[in-house]
């Protein structure tokens, strides 16, 4: 009776279908040609309509034969590089770090278009096994080099029982309109402790997609931080699953968005077992005519009693044309839990501005000071002075980019 309208495909979608066919992945090509890329009608892409936002799809990446300067240097870090999807040979690994590679993606099967595409495209995965206490931070430096390219990369991190480590992932590359689709699967063993930071520093014209899956075993502790400081269009997805009791995670994120950009952080935390806690703190800051998106969801499964989850989103708008969109969701099936969420959104406090300016601090400087104060909460808990400094450098670089 009712007709279903055939999906009209955009040029980006058509190119994508061709690429998937050339990779021999008919199933994925079929899926895209039937449904297209997700529009705002797909609830998880409500604010990030990929069909309209993704204007062009560059050709599939060829092996990289040159390298741009590293986007972020973390002094004392052990560096691993993935260029155009291929794992590069690295120096001698520090004690407790085992570096291997395997074929295909590291992600599990999940009904999400970016996960599907990574699965179809990623040829190689960097596998890290971490044992004991790893002294230096590990940097996974993901690059897309050369002319504009569509590239996928993948990494799998296994933190052994009782191990402790810090990983910083950076995404960058040559100045071109790349489309990057990066994946990480991170598993924490019993009582393991991990700090995992992902910083996007892609070129201004680029599109950055990343998906991180966490699996937390008994008693493990995770601190996760996502920073968006690059790309014209960015979407970082974080999917976490608590699989063992007594685990705790802090999920944090900083979404800095400039004129003309659209950046989205999407979080889905699943408390599958009792006695697990999580704290989600996300900050968004937007200037110019830009769009900052945060979608967060905490799911507490039927028998996961005594779960504690607190989600907070704070947005700061530095211009009138900016948009901050947020959707902090709770989905609770257990009756003995404490879950809360909060969301605030506004501009710089005029009273504080007046206070600073009345003490002779110029307007622009006063704004930077207040914004710095607003963001400090996220960087402060990171261990390691040099790492913190590097991250502060990223924020500072963005702030100096000009506040009206």
């Amino acid at each position: 009776m009712r007709q279903t309208m055939p999906v009209r495909l955009s040029t980006a979608e058509e190119t994508l279908i061709e690429q998937l066919k050339s990779l021999g992945n008919e199933a994925e090509a079929e899926r895209i040609s039937v449904a297209g890329l997700p529009t705002r009608r797909v609830e998880s892409y409500h604010y990030t309509d990929l069909k309209t936002l993704l204007k062009a799809m560059p050709p599939l990446a060829a092996p990289a034969n040159e390298a741009s300067a590293p986007a972020l240097r973390v002094p004392g870090a052990y560096q691993l590089m993935i260029a155009n999807g291929a794992v590069q040979s690295a120096g001698t690994a520090p004690a407790g770090v085992i570096v291997e590679t395997s074929e295909g993606t590291s992600l599990s099967t999940r009904d999400d278009v970016l996960v599907h595409l990574n699965g179809a495209m990623a040829k190689q995965s960097l596998n890290l096994t971490l044992e004991g206490t790893v002294d230096c931070p590990l940097q996974i430096d993901r690059r897309i080099e050369g002319a504009a390219a569509h590239s996928a990369s993948s990494a799998r991190v296994f933190v052994a029982d009782n191990a402790k480590a810090t990983i910083i992932e950076t995404c960058s590359g040559s100045k071109a309109a790349h489309v990057g689709n990066h994946a990480s699967y991170v598993s924490l063993g019993k009582n393991a402790t991990l700090t995992h930071i992902t910083v996007d520093l892609s070129a201004e014209e680029a599109t950055h997609f990343s998906t991180t899956e966490y699996e937390l075993a008994e008693g493990s502790k995770l601190r996760s931080l996502v920073i968006h400081a690059g790309a014209d269009l960015a979407r970082s997805q974080v999917f976490a699953r608590f699989a063992g009791e007594g685990a705790h995670a802090d999920f944090t994120g900083l979404n800095m968005v400039d004129d003309g950009q659209h950046r989205d952080i999407t979080l889905d935390v699943h408390h599958a077992v009792p006695n697990t806690t999580s704290k989600e703190t996300f900050k968004q800051i937007a200037r110019g005519r830009s769009k900052a998106v945060f979608q967060g969801r905490i799911v507490v499964a039927r028998d996961a009693q005594k779960v504690d989850g607190k989600m907070m989103m704070q947005g700061l708008m530095l211009s009138d044309e900016a948009q901050i969109l947020s959707k902090p969701e709770l989905e609770i099936y257990a009756d003995d839990v404490v879950c809360g969420h909060g969301s605030t959104c506004g501009h710089i406090d005029e009273v504080s501005m007046f206070y600073l300016m009345s003490r002779g601090i110029p307007k622009a400087e006063a704004q930077v000071m207040l914004v710095r104060g607003f963001l400090e909460e996220l960087i402060e808990p990171i261990e390691g002075d040099e790492l913190r400094e590097a991250l502060n450098g990223v924020i500072e670089g963005w702030l100096q980019g000009g506040i009206q």
Binding site: V337, G342, S343, C345
Partner: protein, 509 residues
């Protein structure tokens, strides 16, 4: 076997709260009787002929029929929305009859002409239709059951697809107020209906609103002229009686400059094994300095203990604060329906207009509620406030879904949202899905969903006066809940008082 599946309760929930929610459980539904009355029922199915038939039954002018047909054609191209957190078997829209009317209601001019069987039904429901007696102050005229309808309330009684009687019409007419069924309004005040119908909820708004636009049968029409403060509460009581029918009510309330009206809505249905559809559209228009207060006690049949039967309640309610400094306030107490899909919204178009939403949603048995509000800030210095309390028990799912958005031109927009949920038992679910969209930097939005957000100052003040922490919290939260309930008109207090003391212990965001 059902006994084995009984949810277990955790200990720290206040027993009183549990008892009060149980008293509202699905098997305690007291309005489930059926009135045996001869009815005119349209054949099952939906096509252009049915739309024409409904229009003809209502003796509508040509333009109204065209309007309906256009909506119907549009509806055929639309798809059922699937984003809400509810699940139900696919509705066969051809298995429903779209019109049912008691045979004897061919336009009664006065109460004396209304079928006594119908009057008895309303008496049983506790709805006062005996206006003379009420006016004369006869004791017991308001019926024996404790209901929200006491005192001086003008009632429009809608039975299946038709309005059977509207009381106090002359009294209200003295003030220039028009209060009648929408079918009458289409015939008698076409200029007003033409101007406002579909101006808040466009024909193409959503699947169920479009369906309603094609086949709506009855509902109320209220017009409050400039500067008039409506002297009594206006009310519509909806009753579904006939089998295999759907009810498609349409309500339109217009408050001209500087006027005020408080409107109540109530609804019940008999207990039946099959699901029945209720897809309503309510439109409110408030011009400069006008205020509309809209309260609902939604008590449709929720289905039995095993989730069989019950009403599917898919409703589009929207108020348009069209004038400066206008105010629209929604208050709802949701206890019925198998499925509730309802988002009373405010479009804050006029500068300094205000929208409010107060809700208590209680789900039991196998009920599914996906309800909330939308506050769209378009004008300068507009303010809105959302207070929502969801209580889930039994095997039910209770979702709050709300949107707050500020347009780029809505300078100084301000919103405060608070939503709390309480789970009673371990087989139910409570969910919160807020959408917060800020498009300009001077808008300030706050959303919170924890009881721990009570200000430290208040806690300190109470505690240094010797109250324990718990007592202090109870005192502050109580004051806060009372604040919500004060938004209800006096007549509703009786019904909702049962819920007032529900404690927030063990509540989650």
């Amino acid at each position: 076997m059902a006994m084995l599946d009984t949810p277990t309760l955790k200990e720290n929930i206040d027993q009183e709260t549990v008892d009060k929610v149980r008293a509202l459980d699905v098997d305690k539904y007291k309005y489930g009787f059926e009135t045996l009355i001869e009815s005119d029922v349209a054949p099952k199915g939906l096509n252009e002929d049915i739309v024409r038939m409904i229009s003809a039954k209502k003796e509508e002018p040509e333009w109204m029929l065209e309007w309906r047909l256009e909506a119907f054609r549009r509806w055929q191209t639309m798809e059922e929305p699937s984003w809400a957190k509810v699940s139900y078997p696919k509705i066969d829209f051809q298995e429903i009859s779209y019109y049912a009317a008691p045979k004897t209601t061919a336009g009664p001019k006065s109460l004396a002409e209304v079928d006594p069987e119908l009057l008895a039904t309303y008496e049983k429901l506790g709805i006062p239709l005996k206006e003379q007696e009420i006016l004369a102050g006869v004791e017991g005229a308001t019926g024996e059951t404790a209901t929200p309808y006491g005192g001086n309330v003008a009632v429009d009684a809608v039975f299946d697809s038709v309005s059977v009687v509207t009381t106090f019409r002359e009294e209200l007419a003295k003030h220039g107020i028009i209060f009648c069924s929408i079918s009458e309004a289409v015939r008698e005040h076409p200029e007003l209906v033409k101007k406002y119908l579909g101006s808040v909820v466009p024909v193409t708004d959503n699947y169920y609103a479009t369906l309603n636009s094609a086949v709506f049968t009855d509902g109320s029409f209220v017009f409050i002229p400039k500067g008039v403060r409506c002297p009594m509460e206006l009310s519509t009581y909806f009753r579904i009686n006939e089998k295999n029918t759907g009810q498609f009510e349409r309500t339109l309330i217009i408050a001209e400059e500087e006027s005020y009206v408080s409107y109540l809505e109530g609804c019940t249905a008999p207990m039946r094994d099959e699901n029945q559809l209720h897809a309503a559209v309510v439109e409110l228009v408030a011009l400069d300095d006008a205020e509309i207060k809209y309260s609902t006690v939604q008590n449709w049949y929720p289905g039995d203990k095993n989730g069989k039967g019950g009403i599917y309640n898919f409703v589009t309610k929207r108020g348009d604060c069209r004038g400066h400094r206008s105010k629209i306030s929604w208050t709802q107490v949701e206890t019925g329906s198998a499925i509730t899909w309802k988002y009373p919204s405010c479009i804050l178009r006029g500068d300094e207009s205000r929208g409010e939403f107060y809700s208590i949603a209680i789900s039991n048995g196998h009920q599914q509620i996906d309800s909330g509000t939308k506050m769209r800030h378009l004008g300068k210095n507009t303010t809105s406030r959302i207070i929502s309390k969801g209580i889930a028990a039994g095997f039910s799912d209770n979702t709050y879904r709300g949107l707050v958005s500020a347009h780029a031109k809505a300078k100084g927009a301000r919103n405060f949202t608070q939503c709390d949920s309480l789970l009673i038992g371990d087989k139910c679910g409570a969910h919160t899905v807020p959408y917060i969209e800020s498009h300009n930097s001077s808008a300030v939005f706050e959303h919170e969903a924890t009881t721990s957000k009570i200000s430290d100052d208040q806690m300190f003040y109470c505690q240094q006066r010797g109250l324990s922490e718990e007592e202090a919290v109870a005192l502050i939260v109580n004051g806060f809940v009372r604040d919500v309930l004060q938004q209800l008109p006096m007549e509703f207090m009786v019904e909702t008082q049962k819920l007032i003391s529900i404690s927030l212990e063990g509540s989650v965001g």
